[in-house]
Every structure is written in C-alpha cells, then in structure tokens.
C-alpha cells in the first residue's frame, strides 16, 4: 500500500511539470493585462512601464516562467499584482470558506444522494423509486445561481428562518449548502442506485439471502459497501469542484471563496493570482484523484492486491 502511494507520488512529478506549464501560459492567452486595472485617471505611461517592470511583465514569457517556477520550488507563489499581497496569503484567506461550503455541500449531496440511491434501489421499479428519482432530478435541473436566489426568497425573505447571505455561523451555511449540493445529489443517487441494483444481482447476495440475513442488513452491510466503490470514484473527482466550483453560489450568497477569488483575478488578469489559484486547484484535483484511488484500494481488497 505504501509502495503504491509512493509510486503514484513519484509519477506526479511530470504531471506537476505539465500542469505548471499549462497553468502558467493559459492566462497569457487571455487578451488584456493586469496593469490597466492598476491605472486610474491621471497616471502616466511611464508609470505603466514602471509597474510592468516591477512585476517582471516586461520580460519574455519563458523568462517569466523560469522565475515563477524557481520561486515555486521554494514554495513561493508570488505576489498578486492587483491586490499587492502574497498569493499564498490570499489563497489561505479564502480557502477556509471554500472548504466550509464545499465540504458541507459534498456531505449534503453525498449523504442525501446515497440515502436516496439506497432507498430507490431497495424499492426498485416501484412508485417510491420513481418519486425519489423524479424529485432529485427536478432539483438538479435548476441552475444553482437561480436556485440560490429562490431559496433566499423563500427561506430567508418570506419565512425568515435563515439569514439572506454572508458567511457567519452555520445558519448562513444552510442555504448555500443546499443550493450547491442539490445538483450533486442526483449524480450520487443515480450512481448509488445503479450500483446497488447491479450488486444485488450478484450471486453472493443471493447467498446472503440464503443465509437468512435480514434484507436491510444485506443492503447496508454488503451491497452498499460494493456500491460505494464507484461513488468514491465520483467523490474523488469532485475535489476540484469542492474548492472552486461554487462560484455562482459564492456570488449570490455573498460568500468569499477560491472560486470568486479566481474569477476576480481572471477578470483583472492578475497573473500571479490566477496562476497560483489554478495550480493549487489542479494539484488538489490530482491529489484528490490519488486519494480516491487509495481509498478505493483500501475498500476493495482485490484492488489493494493488484496495486501493491
């Protein structure tokens, strides 16, 4: 197991290199530059050049990449041009909010999704199955920004149960969690349901019934465990989404977060910040996939063996 993990980590090095290349150059494909966002009425062309020189933007892209990479290897993500603060500090400030919402939404969609999937699978083909599947489907068809506004209108304005927006305390986390998580429920439920149904068709489940085990024990202790393997795959692929996918939700609920930070940086062409955020997201995604693999291997003894 440790060998497997180490091997995968070593294989990450070339991936990291490629990712760093993409991340560095992609933002330069976008027209416009950050300096104009620093200039206001009254500033002069000389100042432009000064600022460009200050951030090394007057040098060739390759040179810039080498400098950036050099700094990166010492753990320095650079300094935001627009905000004038270290990129790492900005990420560190926004990350907790993204994690808070991302994890809450992921838990919400995963737990609800699995529960719904299990129930739907247990009542496969009945009206219960249909209504659960239908209801979940409905929830996932509404764009999340829109859902967010509607949730605010209903639960915060009309009913006044929770605050409209903000990121203060758990009560302000409820609506964003629902808005961000609802789409995921459908996915998780769908996968869980199909995996459950597939698994319960296997011989060993027949044999478990033949042992006289109560059906709910079979479903929860055996079938669900098998069904969790594909669910874990999906979840490990959602790490990127947890960190940066909730942009619209952050916008509507006035929450800070990595997604908003990145979008704003993108709009202002704040190169170091965009690069820093993207690199962090990409690495999180890769490591998320790795963790997913490891968890999956830990869950499934066959894979554990195959990968040892």
């Amino acid at each position: 197991m440790i060998g497997f993990t180490l091997r995968r980590l070593v294989l990450l090095l070339p991936v990291f290199f490629v990712v760093s290349l993409v991340v560095f150059f992609i933002i330069h494909l976008v027209p416009g530059d950050p300096i104009d966002n620093l200039m206001r009425a009254g500033s002069t062309p000389e100042q432009r050049l000064q600022i460009a020189a200050k951030y090394g933007l007057d040098r060739s892209l390759v040179e810039q990449y080498v400098t950036w990479m050099g700094r990166l290897l010492t753990g320095d993500l650079g300094t935001s041009i627009i905000q004038g603060r270290p990129v790492s500090a900005l990420i560190a400030r926004n990350l907790p909010y993204s994690l808070e919402l991302g994890i809450a939404a992921l838990l919400f969609s995963t737990l609800t999704g699995i529960a719904a999937g299990v129930i739907a699978a247990s009542y496969q083909g009945t009206r219960v199955d249909d209504s659960i599947t239908g209801f979940i489907l409905l929830g996932s068809t509404v764009p999340s920004f829109w859902l967010g506004l509607l949730l605010i209108l209903v639960f915060a304005v009309w009913l006044g149960w929770v605050p409209v927006s903000g990121a203060r305390g758990w009560s302000s986390l409820i609506l964003p969690t629902i808005a961000a998580g609802l789409g995921g429920i459908a996915l998780v439920a769908r996968v869980t349901r199909i995996a459950m149904i597939e698994t319960s068709r296997q011989d060993f489940v027949t044999l478990l019934h033949a042992k006289g085990l109560p059906p709910f024990i079979i479903q929860l202790r055996h079938v669900l465990r098998h069904a969790m393997v594909p669910v874990v795959t999906i979840l490990s692929l959602r790490i990127g989404w947890v960190l940066g996918g909730a942009v619209t939700i952050e916008y509507v609920f006035a929450r800070p977060g990595l997604g908003s930070l990145l979008i704003r940086a993108l709009n202002q062409r704040d190169y170091p910040l965009v690069q820093g955020c993207l690199l962090m997201l990409a690495m999180a995604v890769i490591i998320g996939a790795l963790i997913g693999d490891i968890v999956q291997a830990a869950m499934d003894p066959r894979q554990r063996e195959a990968r040892a």
Binding site: Q202, F204, A210, G212
Partner: protein, 317 residues
C-alpha cells in the same frame, strides 16, 4: 420425508416455467436433479429457499413441505429463520458467491451467529472446525484472507462451509461443480457425499452432468422444460432409463470407448418458455412420439418403488 414437493408450479407473471414438479428427499439421501439449461431445476431450488420473490417469481400452486411444514405461504420472518439454518444453499459459481470485500472467516460465521446464536469467538471456533472438516489447509490463516486470495476449489469449500455453519438438515447444491476443473470437481463431489453420509443431511444435488449424478446420487429426478419427466433410483435410471429423454440424454454422453462418429444426439432444440408445444414438451424431439403425446400432457406417475415416469409411451410399454 425431510422435504416433499408436490405439484409445484412456479410462475413469473403469465409464464409458468416450472410446473407439476413432484419430488422428495429424505435425511441421509442424495437426490439429483438433472436437466439441461432451461429445465427449471435452479428455479425449483430457488422456490425451496423461498427466494423467488427476489427475482420476481412466485409459487403459484403446489406445496413444499419441509419436515412437515408447508413452506408455501410461510411468513417471510419464519422463512428467514429456516434459510441458512435448517435449509442451506450452495451456489454454482464460487468465484462470485463470496463477498469480495469481506474476509473469509466472518462470512462463514454469519449463519452460526444468526441461527445458532453463537458469539463471535464461538462462531469463529465453529468455522475453523468446519474448515478443518472440509480439509482446508491452515484454516486459521485462511480465515483472515479475502476471497480473491483463494483458488476456485478452495472458494467452493468455503461456500460449503458457509452452508454448513447454520447446522442445516437439508442442503441444496445448485450445480456446485460446474465452474470447476475436473480434478477439483471430483474433490468437491466427494466432500458432499461424505457430508451426507457422516451427518445424515438431506442433499439435493442439481447438475446437468450425468457423470456427477451417476457418481453421487441415490435417487434422480430428470427435468425437461420445467417438468419432472422421470424420477428413479440411480441404478435403475442408468440401467433402464424409461423416458425417451432420459434415454437420449444418457446416449449423448461421449465415452472414450465409443468409436468416433457413433455418439447420438437429440435432434432439435429446447423450446423457449414462450413457445412450449402442446402435449408432452419433449414430443417434437422424441424418437418414439405417438399421436397422444402431441395433445395430452403426460403426468408423472410414481409407483410403489418410488420410481416414476411422465410418458405415455413408456407407460404403455
């Protein structure tokens, strides 16, 4: 009789893939159910286990008497108490019969803990003992392995151990050796026969292999298209098969002492469940078909010997 099936009819919606099945097995006896695919032998086993609803079927008529109790219509809760306890099942494919994500030992323990009320350590001790009985080398270490770490033959022994864990009186083995190599098949059949002889279990051995039947069974039920066409003592069946199907079946087994090209085949195909011929279901393929066979369904008449045949022609003879 430990188990008595009378005129069992299994239906899936409008279809009745199994009908008029009558057979029985006693303690210490091995009943073979033999037939080709689609003959309904596995469904019969599923019906005895009370697991038909899982696959969308139900017992439409007839009785399944286990030790005097009719299992048909028995509440699920009571049926569950029997399942894995007094009646146990062994399935065909050992590769897929074990939960791949669970260690071997606990899977064997389950039935004992559930039906015998044993604690964790008592169940473990019992499982280890069973594994030793089944000649599994080094049971203590196998106990902690995962299924994929075992060979097919070893897995099938685990499946048998699982079935025995609840101290069953009746064992239903549904094609227990089909997926195994011949050398392993021989061992598993031997184990099953020994079990019946030593523990006095009743065993229903479902198979399509006449060799296995000849080797292991005391009595045999031959099934074709959902019906029992012949029920007989094993010696009688092979010495003097009465149903034309049984006769044909025995004839189409290759033997090394036959000259090449002398093996006879049964012409035609097994009709699909949706297109059963009227009358005797074997009539389109039967060499001795009479007019009556095309109209009237022959009934299985069991004589005093306990042997019987469902054939107009054989009866007339």
């Amino acid at each position: 009789m430990l188990l008595d099936l009378e005129m069992l009819r299994i239906s899936f919606g409008a279809f009745a893939p199994v009908d008029q099945v009558t057979l029985s097995v006693d303690r210490g006896e091995i009943l073979g159910i033999v037939g080709e695919s689609g003959s309904g032998k596995s469904l019969t086993a599923t019906a005895i286990m009370g697991l038909l609803p899982r696959i969308g079927g139900q017992v439409a008529a007839g009785t399944i008497r286990f030790d005097g109790t009719n299992l048909v219509g028995l509440p699920e809760r009571q049926m569950r108490r029997l399942r894995g306890g007094r009646i146990a099942l062994i399935t065909q494919n050992p590769m897929t019969s074990l939960d791949s994500m669970m260690r071997i030992g606990p899977q064997i323990d389950q039935a004992a803990r559930l039906h015998l009320g044993l604690g964790r350590s008592a169940a473990r001790a019992k499982s280890l003992e069973l594994m030793a009985d089944l000649r599994i080398p080094d049971p203590a270490s196998v106990y902690d392995l995962f299924p994929h770490q075992l060979s097919g033959g070893m897995k099938q022994r685990i499946v048998i151990a699982m079935a025995l864990a609840g101290d069953p009186e009746l064992l239903i083995a549904d094609e227990p050796t089909t997926a195994l190599d011949v050398t392993v098949q021989a061992q598993i059949v031997q184990i099953l026969v020994d079990l019946v002889r030593q523990r006095g279990l009743g065993l229903i051995l479902i198979t399509h292999d006449m060799g296995v039947v000849a080797q292991a069974c005391d009595r045999v039920a031959v099934m074709y298209c959902g019906r029992v066409v012949e029920l007989a003592e094993v010696d009688a069946l092979f010495a003097q098969p009465r149903h034309p199907y049984t006769q044909a079946l025995i004839r189409c087994i290759p033997r090394h002492d036959m000259a090449r090209g002398t093996m006879s085949a049964i012409p035609g195909v097994v009709p699909s469940a949706a297109a059963q011929p009227p009358g005797c279901r074997f009539n389109p393929r039967c060499a001795r078909v009479a007019d009556r066979c095309r109209i009237e369904i022959p009934e299985l008449r069991i004589g005093v010997s306990g042997n019987g045949v469902a054939c107009h022609v054989a009866e007339a003879a």
